[in-house]
């Protein structure tokens, strides 16, 4: 079977872990997130008749004051930046993280705007959003609460990872 390492990044409280919980059931406690900064789950998806096992590295939420463990990105085939549409600041922070990741490795990226079940309360216009989205290989609107678009988003991520060339 083909296995791919993918990373989930984003500011604190945007719903990364909730997205993963929607998608998989793992064996590790979420305490890992606060102890070593990452928790790993797995999910097998099928892309073009090929089974791909995604190893999801759910990384501790980052903010402007603390970076993230770039070493955890090593060997990743793709990554997700998760932001929260109810908090405008998360997109700015997400973009900063995206920039940091790009400095480390050149792999496909996916922008996920989470909490689509709530009304968007940020001030970004459609044009501004499109501008940001252009920095990513793909984007998705998800709701970890309702499960909307979550499966599709991870399938897209698997496709990106499967099609990518590792650094």
């Amino acid at each position: 079977m083909i296995a791919k390492k993918v990373c989930l990044l984003g500011p604190t409280g945007v719903g990364k872990t909730s997205l993963v919980k929607r998608f998989v059931e793992g064996i590790f406690s979420e305490k890992y997130l606060t102890t070593i900064g990452v928790k790993i789950d797995k999910k097998t998806v099928t892309i073009d008749d090929t089974e791909i096992q995604l190893m999801l590295w759910d990384m501790e939420g980052t903010d402007r004051y603390c970076g993230f463990q770039t070493r955890y990105l090593r060997g990743a085939a793709a990554y997700i930046i998760v932001v929260d549409q109810t908090r405008a600041q998360t997109l700015i922070e997400g973009m900063e993280i995206h920039k940091l990741v790009k400095e480390e490795c050149d792999i496909p990226s996916l922008l996920v705007v989470n909490k689509s079940d709530l009304d968007a309360s940020w001030h970004w216009t459609a044009d501004e959003l499109d501008h940001y989205k252009r920095h990513f290989n793909a984007t998705a609107m998800t709701s970890a609460k309702t499960g909307e678009n979550v499966e599709t988003m991870f399938n897209d991520l698997a496709s990106l990872a499967f099609g990518s060339t590792q650094e």
Binding site: K5, F28, I40, M55, W57, Q166
Partner: protein
């Protein structure tokens, strides 16, 4: 040319095919030479020269693949290239020694440090085990066994210490943390091996990042993760990690084996490791070397424990038999104790306690009248058998009628002429004795404790003999005299200036009353008339009149007490004589004295004083 070139290519292929077949060359060389001559004649170079011109590009296109295929096929490429490379490296080192030292120094330094650290850590661990086991019973056993086996203690201890079981081996891609191959003793362990691998990779990264030093050359990696139950041994390679989950204490040999296996995998699968893109299929063939690492080293002791421990079984059986025998003895003894407790002891014996003394003996505490049956004799009726009996007895005088009778019988045994007859509460004696014996007999029988309380003595049928024959009347008179003496010797003492007896003196009143009644009985038998005079006295201190009153009051007091004890009032006279004027007793004469006036009745004869 084009017409020529077409056939030339096919001919060249044919030629190469032929060339590759040494047998064909040998067998057909002459024929081929002839064919070449016929086809190409003297213009052979026209064909070969273009091939030679393009040889470089032709070979370069397939060079790597050809080497790979040939190496895979028979490994001969190694054999060819190895000496060349060795020579090249040797020459290079000889010519550029300084540069090589510069390249290798950091590597060798790090390697040496790691090696020395690993050695010291294993040495310390081994030493700790040795110390722990040197001063225990197990340590002594090991010393003995090592001595018997002819090996050093340290060798034997090491062989006993490093017993372990490798439960799972994981091959992990270093960069991605993805699982390449996993083998386990228990297949269930493989279910989450991929997650564990990734997490281990993450933890390794975490450790590296947290503890790394400034110099990138000294990246810190996890070597061992140890818990109470198992140890994770982690061997780090450039592209892969080899992780073994071990129960018990792994041996240094196993560490070496893991390291060797990891190196072997790097050697065999270098390309696959470098180009790994998530597909673990190429590593399926790693199963064999990984499975070789699933080692079970069982202690020889454990194997021998599978054998039946006959000695222990026999000892246990003997123990059970002994226990049962003990229980039977205990039960028999307890039954005997219960039987004895239920039985009535002989008269004059009171059993205070009886209990088992071990399982083959009795312990008994009792009170026994000297006249009663000995306890040992009584116990004979029970099935004592060989049991030991410890009897602790205290002597006492029993008030049981049987015992009093026995005592009487015993007392009478020295009087040969006396016969006894028990009639209810009356002991009737008969026979012929001397006067002395008569008195002695009466005294001794009445002195027997409890006799007076339970029995009445009848001695009317006892005849008295002497040197002169004494008739019955004389005997009775003698008895009267004896009783008279006893009555008259009784005195009561009073404290100064009191007319009432104290407690100890009052107790004597009953005795006096009994004796007076007995005396009256004897008086009647002897046909005497009698009266009792109770005489009160006083000491010489004080006025005479007062003393007379005191003495009179004392006499009246004693008389009243006697009347209470059913002595007829009209047969007692109380008189106070005042102070006693005798120098010897004058100061202590606060008494009441008893005197008896009697005389023989004479029919029709009555004398009166004063007439």
């Amino acid at each position: 040319m084009s017409q020529i070139e077409g056939p030339d290519d096919s001919q060249q292929d044919a030629i190469e095919t032929q060339t590759n077949s040494s047998e064909g060359i040998e067998q057909d060389s002459k024929d081929m030479q002839r064919v070449r001559d016929l086809l190409l004649g003297n213009n052979r170079d026209v064909v070969t020269s273009p091939v030679k011109q393009d040889a470089r590009s032709i070979v370069s296109e397939v060079f790597s693949e050809a080497l790979f295929d040939r190496q895979k096929k028979d490994g001969s490429v190694d054999q060819v290239i190895l000496p060349l490379v060795e020579n090249s490296v040797e020459n290079s080192i000889n010519n550029h020694r300084e540069q090589f030292v510069g390249y290798l120094y950091p590597l060798v330094g790090s390697l040496v440090r790691k090696s020395v650290t690993a050695f010291i850590s294993e040495f310390l661990e081994k030493t700790n085990e040795l110390i722990e086991n040197s001063f225990t019973i197990k340590g002594l056993k090991w010393r003995y066994r090592a001595w018997r086996a002819g090996v050093s203690f340290s060798e034997y201890a090491a062989s006993q210490t490093f017993q372990f079981r490798v439960k799972q081996v994981l091959l992990i891609h270093r960069k991605t943390g993805l699982l390449l191959k996993s083998v386990a003793q228990d297949h269930q362990l493989n279910d989450n091996a991929d997650l564990v691998s990734s997490m281990l990779g993450a933890i390794n990264d975490f450790v590296s990042d947290s503890f790394t030093s400034d110099s990138k050359d000294e990246e810190q990696n996890l070597g061992v993760v140890k818990t109470d139950n198992f140890t994770l041994l982690i061997k780090q390679g450039p592209y892969a990690l080899l992780v073994a989950a071990v129960n018990g204490n792994e041996s240094p040999h196993f560490n070496e084996q893991l390291q060797t296996t990891l190196e072997q995998i790097h050697r065999l699968y270098l390309n696959e490791l470098v180009e790994f893109d998530g597909d673990d299929v190429p590593f399926d063939s790693c199963e064999k070397p990984l499975r070789d690492c699933l080692i079970n080293e069982l202690k020889p002791e454990l194997e021998t424990k599978q054998k039946q421990p006959w000695i222990a079984i026999i000892l246990a059986f003997a123990g059970i038999v002994a226990l049962l025998y003990y229980l039977v003895l205990w039960w028999q003894n307890e039954s005997l104790v219960s039987e004895i407790k239920k039985a009535s002891p002989p008269a004059g014996v009171i059993i205070r306690t009886i209990e088992q003394d071990g399982v083959n003996g009795l312990s008994l505490e009792a009170l026994r009248d000297p006249q009663s049956t000995p306890i040992e004799e009584w116990l004979q009726q029970f099935k004592i058998g060989e049991r030991t009996t410890q009897i602790k007895q205290e002597l006492y005088l029993s008030a049981a009628p049987q015992m009093i009778q026995l005592r009487v019988e015993s007392a009478l045994s020295s009087f040969s002429g006396i016969n006894t007859s028990w009639n209810g509460q009356v002991l009737s004696l008969s026979g012929l004795v001397t006067v002395t014996e008569y008195n002695d007999l009466q005294r001794r029988i009445e002195a027997i404790p409890g006799f007076k309380e339970s029995f009445t003595l009848n001695m009317r049928n006892v005849s008295v003999k002497g040197e002169q024959t004494v008739n019955v009347t004389t005997q009775q008179q003698q008895l009267y005299q004896n009783a008279l003496a006893e009555v008259q010797q009784i005195q009561f003492d009073f404290p100064v200036a009191t007319t009432v007896l104290d407690r100890t003196q009052i107790e004597k009143v009953q005795n006096l009353a009994d004796k007076i009644k007995e005396l009256m009985l004897l008086a009647e038998i002897n046909q005497y008339t009698m009266g009792v005079i109770v005489i009160g006295t006083a000491d010489s201190v004080g006025a005479s009149g007062t003393n007379t009153e005191l003495s009179q009051a004392r006499a009246e007091h004693v008389k009243s007490l006697l009347v209470e004890k059913e002595v007829a009032s009209n047969e007692i006279m109380a008189v106070g004589i005042g102070k006693v004027e005798l120098a010897q007793v004058a100061t202590t004469a606060r008494k009441v004295l008893i005197n008896v006036v009697y005389h023989q009745n004479t029919l029709g004869h009555t004398e009166r004083e004063g007439n």
